[in-house]
Amino acid sequence: MTLPLADLVTMLPELIVAATACLVLALDPVTSPRRRDYLAWMSMAALAACFIVTASGMGDRVSAFGGLVVVDAFAAFWKLLLYVVTGMTILLSIGYLKEERIALAEFHGFLLLSLTGMMVMVSGADLLVIYLGIELMSIPLYVLAGFKRFEARSIESSAKYFILGAFSSGLLLYGVSLVFGAAGSTRLADIAAAVAARGLNDPMILMAMTLVIVGFGFKVAAVPFHMWTPDVYQGAPTSVTAFMASASKVASFGAWLRVMLEGFGGVTPHWTGLLLGLCLLTLLVGNLVAIVQTNVKRMLAYSGIAHAGYALIGVVVAGWAGADAGISSHGVSGMMLYLAVYALMTLGAFAVVAVLRRGGVEGEDLEDFTGLAKRHKGAAFLMLLFMVSLAGIPPTAGFIGKLYLLTGAVRAGLTWLAVVGLIFAAVSAFYYLRVVMVMYMRDPSSDPARHMRLALPPATVVVLLVAAAGVILVGVYPGPFIEFTASAVLP
């Protein structure tokens, strides 16, 4: 056996993250509790190193391990985004874990292991590798969701996530095995060749494609595969929820898009129809059910579902205009920008929830936000910013994301879809702005039991400021960001 050195260099970021994860896990038992923060900073250093490596090598398409994985600008874009999101999660967790008295530094090791899986997912050019990436992403998340080990809700969240995650993996694997039967290989390129050779209406390919779509639909929480989301998001520790809602959704979309375009690119008329249906259902259910939520974490869970619907618009546009490369890449880059913006603002919103404390517990009920502007101006303003951005109101990033995405739909001749998107944006404004209304237009309760305090260590302040700065910056000066995503689309 020869060690493929060049391949290892190509996968350097994955190796760094995986090695740091193992190091954190190994050092945890021998580190005294007071010094556990060092492990978090070590993880941050690894992420910074990876960021530099990935950013400097961005652009050229290199494949490694005999074409099993590929590093191109598309993968690099997702990886950069994932580093940022993971870094922010780690910073947020330093304070949050202390507040919740979770003294397990395995937390950071698991975040990094999960990140390794996500990086492999977006780089995978083979269904087997992508599947393993999904598992490596999910298994640490199942555990992280149950990290509040003495709270029934957290354990419930973990168990539900595990069972439904395993179920969806089963469906995905069934699809992969059918693809293998039809193409004789799990490489995306070979699958594309088999799809081209067997024609559009081969039942085996269509069955496999449907199962793959269902499998990924679970991972991105698209309706009707979203049932697990609210309970899991609500029960998990908030910093984990932030990570699940942003990073895992982003990575799943990245891998999904590559599978659809590079693997099933030959049957676009079939999958765009399916995805269009998923997209409309997701927009409808996500936005309507979010209206009746009184728990902010649950509301954000449904908002995450609704945003998956928007991201799907980009995928549909990419498939709809398959022949026209310009419009197709507009769809892809629209989706990429939208998800990047979504990750930032969702992380910010969850960070505010994590910061807000009522006695020993989190302030996650809508009631806990009552009159927040009178007591804590800064936190209320940040929440206002994130809510406005999630609703897609200018001058925030959320507006730019929706605008760019929906322009793509109009260009592809799907004007009606853009109109539907706009209508649901108006619907969503109702539940986002209700949070703002509660914060600014009501007086805080005088009951001392409902007195809110902020748990704001410096690291958390950094997270909030980075998220807020990103939301404003992309909102007022979107040019470079749009160009950046446009340069990183799949060829």
Partner: protein, 171 residues
């Protein structure tokens, strides 16, 4: 001769599989499942799939079945705790599957191919060796990924199930 060996394995598999559901004592059921696993492994050997046969014994007979036995013994299942109400459902599904088999054999005819050694002589190296070589060269990357997944699952199980990892209890 190969046909005879095949018939032996096949007959034992069918009988023990029937015993798994027919026996009243769950321990006996698990043990007849064990016998079935060994005979399936035997079938694999006659097909020159030595690796699969070894995996069959290590994973199914060794790990999964022992797990079954543990669960049965820990839960102390009574002899009478049986799912008798599933009878009609089983009959219905059985009828459907039987019809399918009859229809298929009627349309394609029943051809019994002797389970002789498939493509022997071609493979100089045993297939265990071949699989090992592919696993450590072409599929090195997924192989290492799988090891990371197992690591995560193992540590995760410890974290979630261990009762007294210092901290949190004080809260």
């Amino acid at each position: 001769m190969p046909t005879l060996i095949f018939l032996y394995f096949a007959a034992i598999i069918v009988v023990t599989a029937a015993l798994v559901v027919a026996l009243r004592n769950p321990i006996y059921s698990a043990l007849s499942l064990l016998v079935m696993f060994f005979h399936v492994a035997g079938l694999y050997v006659t097909l020159h799939a030595e690796f699969l046969a070894a995996i069959q014994i290590i994973v199914y007979a060794g790990a999964i079945l022992v797990l079954y036995l543990f669960v049965v013994m820990l839960l102390n299942v009574k002899r009478d705790d049986r799912y008798n109400r599933q009878g009609p459902v089983a009959l219905f599904l059985g009828a459907v599957l039987l019809t399918e088999v009859v229809l298929l054999t009627a349309s394609h005819g029943l051809t019994v191919a002797s389970p002789g050694p498939a493509a022997d002589g071609e493979r100089v190296a045993g297939n265990t060796e071949a699989i090992g070589e592919v696993l450590y060269s072409t599929y090195l990357f997924p192989f290492e990924m799988a090891s990371l997944i197992l690591l995560a699952a193992m540590i995760g199980a410890v974290i979630l199930s261990k009762k007294d990892i210092m901290e949190s209890k004080s809260s």
